[in-house]
Each structure stands twice: as structure tokens, then as C-alpha cells.
Amino acid sequence: MIEVEGLTVRFAGVTPIDDMSVVFPGGTCGLIGPNGAGKTTFFNVLSGFVKPAAGSITAFGQNMLKLSDYKRARWGLRRTFQTEMAVEKLSVFDNVALIHEHSGAKRSTRNEDVLKAIEFVGLQAPPNAKVGGLGARERRLVEVARAVVGRPRVVLLDEPAAGLPDEETAHLSQVIQKIPGEVGALVILVDHDMSLVSACCATTAVVDFGKLVASGPTAEVLRDEHVMRAYLGTETPMDDGGQESEALL
């Protein structure tokens, strides 16, 4: 469980996160909101890249803000980035091994763990292929493999399906759904694709202008009147047409 209490982030004159309090109970939790709502800033606070002006984040009893940035990976925090950041010059294997090496996991299980993670995400490319030569979908999967290796406790996925066609999003969705059960990590999923969020997340939190608008079971949250107003700026119910247009954002 991750508890966020009164989190506030200020950049010169802008307050991307404004006194936000939210609980991520476990499993896969969605975090949605319009562009600029503060989702990625929240991930950056969790990663230690941004120091909040006030508030606290407690994950499984650990005060996250006390840990320095790179030590959070050793604690068990993983993340993917909006623009995928697998290392181009390294092979698929080395990309995943890199995370394992700095996760505090045992060196003796490294090769086995790395290959298992690559298999877990269903990556077909050979482990010794350079990431620079892979396509967008495969790179995404490499990033997810990096996020699940070495016994993570919390996995942050920042728009993992951005730019992927539907059938590849479907595969990614299956992989994400397996993470809590098979890897044992709490997943926070940020995405604009509502069908992906609905499929993966039991609970969802909605933020807008750095404030929590709603949170609870995903189906209920998505029907919430305030959410529709904040998220779409309209009163139209979130039908398939709504999803498609959002997915394009």
C-alpha cells in the first residue's frame, strides 16, 4: 500500500501537485487525468527527481522521501518513462541485467532472473540483440522487463501503451495484469487509453490541476460526474468513442 499525504510540489510560480492525498491499496492502480494534471510529476516525486515542498509518501511502511533517488531502485521501486528509455547500445539481456545488478538481488540468480523477466513480458527478440535495432513495441517490452526484474515492490508505468497499435496494447495489457500476481509488485499505471486502464486496474485515482478529483473502484470512478467533467471537459458518458479520442491524445 502506498499512502500519499498532503503532497505539494511547486516550480517557480506553478503548483503541479497541490495538497494531494491519495491511497494506492495494492494490485494495479490506475492514475489518470488530463495532460498537465501532475501525473508524471507525481512519478518524478516518487522516483526522487523532484523534491516536494510539503507532504509525505509512505510505501509499505517506508518513508520514500527519505531515500535518495538511486537507492529507491534498490528498495524495490521501478519505473518506465513516457519516452521509452531502454539503453540502445546494450543488448536486451544487458538492459535487464543492469537493473538486476543494482536492485540488491543475488548475483547468482541474475542470468536466470533476467531470462525469466524477458520471457514474462513475451519478448520474441533474442536476448543478445541490441536494443537500438528493435522496434517500438519490443523496446516497450524491454522497458517492462526492466521494471519487473529483481523483485520490485512498486512498478510505475508512465503511458506504456502510448503510440502502440491496438493488438500490441492488448498484449501489453495482459502482461501488466500479470504483474501483481506473478511478480508481487504494486503497479501504478498512468495512461490515456481508458480501455487499458479499465482492463488492468481494480482501482483508479483521477487527478486534475494537481488535486485528487476522485478515487475508488475503476468502473465507478469512470462513471463519476466530476471525473467526466474534469477529464473530458464534457458531460458525455465515457463510451467507446470517448476512449478512442482520448487514446489519440
Binding site: 522516483s47 526522487g48 527527481f49 533517488d69 538511486y70 537507492k71 529507491r72 531502485a73 534498490r74 521501486l77 521501478r78 519505473r79 518513462f81 528509455m85 539503453v87 540502445e88 547500445k89 546494450l90 539481456f93 544487458d94 541485467a97 543492469l98 537493473i99 545488478e101 543494482h102 536492485s103 542470468n111 531470462l115 533474442p126 536476448p127 543478445n128 526492466r146
Partner: protein, 364 residues
């Protein structure tokens, strides 16, 4: 696990090729060329190490350091001073000098934690300039006493040259010694690049936030890179001191750091082979120009400039990356020419082409 096995085989082949090449350089080259060539090749090996240091920092971690020649000259100075002041065995001398220069390099690396790109390049270039000025003022030790070890007392000057290892006092033996030390340094670099530090460096080069999120202690690994690169350059400096015998401050100019960076980029900074090419460009070409052809080696600067432009625009991997590709293209071109000359093979291809051309035309 088949990919691992495949990797192991590729690795074994590569190791064999390198071992054969090393054997050739050690055993055959001294018999093929004259004495002046041997001293040049010794310098090539030494400057390859300085280029290797540059390549490790820029090619692997993405940090531009233009202070390599300054570190080389500092290594040369310390090596000279310690050689006069102590009687420690030569291998130990190399380690001590490498260790001290490593420390200095880490201190220079400290600003690199905050600076990168152009700013780091400027700071390190300033350091190179400062080193030239200070060494010009203090001179190289020449057998005198005190911290600087420099004397103007002509009866003491040049009494003895910086000593070489006992087993390698002749030029040819010392050439072999330097090549072996350089090979060990390259091996250390290779082990680093292929293991945990190499992966951490690659992730820092790609994106520092992503490296931090991956749990990489970026401060530690950046300083590690500076330390390793400086250690190697320091060892090279000490080797140079013993090669020259009586080093002079005039040997090291600030602009040499720029030339080294240019040749390292031309050679290729993403491959360790690039450092050897850089060493050849840096030391062999001037020798060939001056001693063999009688051309002022300063013209090389123009050549390096043009080469650098070519590399930056069209071949970021440098010569070691581009040359095999060019050779493969040339091979294909020659092969095509050969096929065109033999009529029996040429016909079906031409027939197919015309048929395709017809088909392409028909719809319109």
C-alpha cells in the same frame, strides 16, 4: 541459453584474433622495421592509452574531457620525479604514478558531476592550459633536489636518464614492454566495459534520470570512469617518461589535447580499437610526414580537421566502424563487376529486371 553460448564462441574467436595480432606486434614487427620506427611504435602504444582514456569517458559515459594530454604530462612529470627520487621497481613505479594521476583525475572529475557537454569540455581544456603553464614554469625534474627536482647546475643536469625496467633497457625490449603494459590496460578497459560498470556507464550516457531510476549510483560511476581513465593515462605518462629519458615541458602543448580528442573521434570512440587507430594517427602519421616524406607535420592538423568533419557528419562510429563497412561495399561493387563480366550469370538477372520494368510500366 543458446545466445550465451553463441556469445562465448564469438568471444573466443575475437580473443584468438587479438592474441595473434599481439604476437605479431611483439615478435614480428621489431624484425621488419628500423630503430626509429620502433620508438615511434612505442609512442603509438603510449598515446593509444591516452586516447583510450578519452574514449572511455566520452564513448562510454558521455563526458567530454579535453585534459588527457595534461594528465599524460602530469604522469610523465611524477614518473620522472619518482624515478629520480626512489629506487622502486618499474612496475611498482607505474602503479604508483597511475594511482596518483587517478586521484588527480577524480578531483578534476568532481565538476563533471554538475557539468556536462561544452562546459565540461571547457573546464578540462582550461585545466590542460593551466598544466602547460605550470609545467613550463616548474620544468621537468632533471636530477636536481627538492620537490621539483629541477636544477640549473649544469654539472648535475643530464647525469642519468629516467630509468627503464631492468629487463627492457634497449629500445626494442622497451617497445615490447610498453606494448604488453598497454595490452593489459586495454584488457582492464575491456573487462570494465563488458561488465557491471560498462552497463552502468551506458545507461548514464543514454539518460541520467533513467540511470538513477535503474538504481545506478551515477556519482560513483562517473568518478569511477574518471579514475580509470586517469589511471591509464598516468601509467602512459610514466611509460613516456622512461621512453624519452629526459622529458621537457616543451613536449606537451595544450592543443595536443584537442588533437588527441580529434584523432580519438576519427578512430572511433565506441570501440576500444578506435584508441589504437587514434594512437597511430597521433604518433605514426607525424613521423611518416616528417621523417619519411619531409612534410611539416603541422599540415596534419588540417587533415585531422577534415577527418573529424567527415566523422561527425557521416560516420559517428569512426574509422573502426566505417572502414569495414566501406570495405564490404567495395567488395560488393567488385563482385558485381565480376558478375557483369561473366555473361552466363548476367543474363537471367537482366532479363528479370527488364520484365519487372515492363510490369511496372504496364498499369500506367
Amino acid at each position: 541459453m543458446s545466445p550465451r553460448l553463441h556469445l562465448d564462441r564469438a568471444l573466443a574467436v575475437r580473443a584468438l584474433v587479438i592474441a595473434a595480432l599481439l604476437l605479431f606486434v611483439l615478435a614480428v614487427v621489431p624484425d621488419l622495421v628500423g630503430a626509429d620506427w620502433i620508438t615511434t611504435f612505442t609512442s603509438v602504444a603510449i598515446y593509444s592509452l591516452a586516447a583510450l582514456g578519452f574514449g572511455l569517458l566520452y564513448g562510454r559515459v558521455g563526458l567530454i574531457s579535453l585534459g588527457q594530454i595534461a594528465l599524460l604530462s602530469i604522469g610523465c612529470w611524477i614518473g620522472t620525479r619518482l624515478a629520480y627520487a626512489t629506487a622502486i621497481p618499474f612496475p611498482l613505479l607505474l602503479l604508483v604514478v597511475g594511482g596518483i594521476v587517478c586521484l588527480i583525475g577524480v578531483i578534476i572529475g568532481l565538476p563533471a558531476l554538475r557539468l556536462s557537454g561544452l562546459y565540461l569540455a571547457l573546464i578540462t581544456l582550461m585545466f590542460a592550459g593551466a598544466t602547460t603553464v605550470v609545467l613550463g614554469a616548474t620544468q621537468f625534474p632533471n636530477g636536481g633536489h627538492g620537490f621539483l627536482g629541477y636544477t640549473t647546475n649544469s654539472s648535475l643536469v643530464g647525469l642519468k636518464a629516467v630509468r627503464r625496467p631492468e629487463m627492457a633497457t634497449s629500445d626494442v625490449a622497451y617497445y615490447r614492454y610498453v606494448v604488453i603494459v598497454a595490452a593489459i590496460m586495454f584488457l582492464i578497459a575491456l573487462v570494465h566495459v563488458a561488465a557491471k560498470p560498462g552497463r552502468a556507464w551506458a545507461s548514464i550516457r543514454e539518460s541520467e534520470p533513467a540511470a538513477l531510476a535503474a538504481g545506478v549510483n551515477t556519482v560513483l560511476y562517473k568518478l569511477w570512469a574518471f579514475g580509470l581513465s586517469s589511471f591509464m593515462t598516468g601509467v602512459a605518462g610514466c611509460l613516456l617518461a622512461a621512453q624519452i629519458g629526459e622529458p621537457r615541458a616543451i613536449t606537451f602543448q595544450t592543443q595536443d589535447s584537442l588533437t588527441l580528442a580529434a584523432t580519438a573521434l576519427i578512430g572511433g570512440i565506441f570501440s576500444l580499437w578506435g584508441a589504437i587507430v587514434a594512437g597511430l594517427f597521433n604518433q605514426l602519421l607525424p613521423f611518416v610526414f616528417q621523417a619519411q616524406w619531409g612534410i611539416n607535420p603541422n599540415f596534419l592538423l588540417i587533415l585531422f580537421g577534415a577527418g573529424l568533419l567527415q566523422v561527425l557528419l557521416t560516420a559517428p562510429g569512426g574509422l573502426v566502424d566505417q572502414f569495414p563497412k566501406d570495405m564490404a561495399n567495395l567488395g560488393r561493387l567488385v563482385w558485381r563487376g565480376v558478375r557483369r563480366l561473366s555473361p552466363s550469370k548476367e543474363e537471367p538477372a537482366a532479363a528479370k529486371e527488364t520484365k519487372e520494368a515492363k510490369e511496372a510500366k504496364e498499369p500506367t
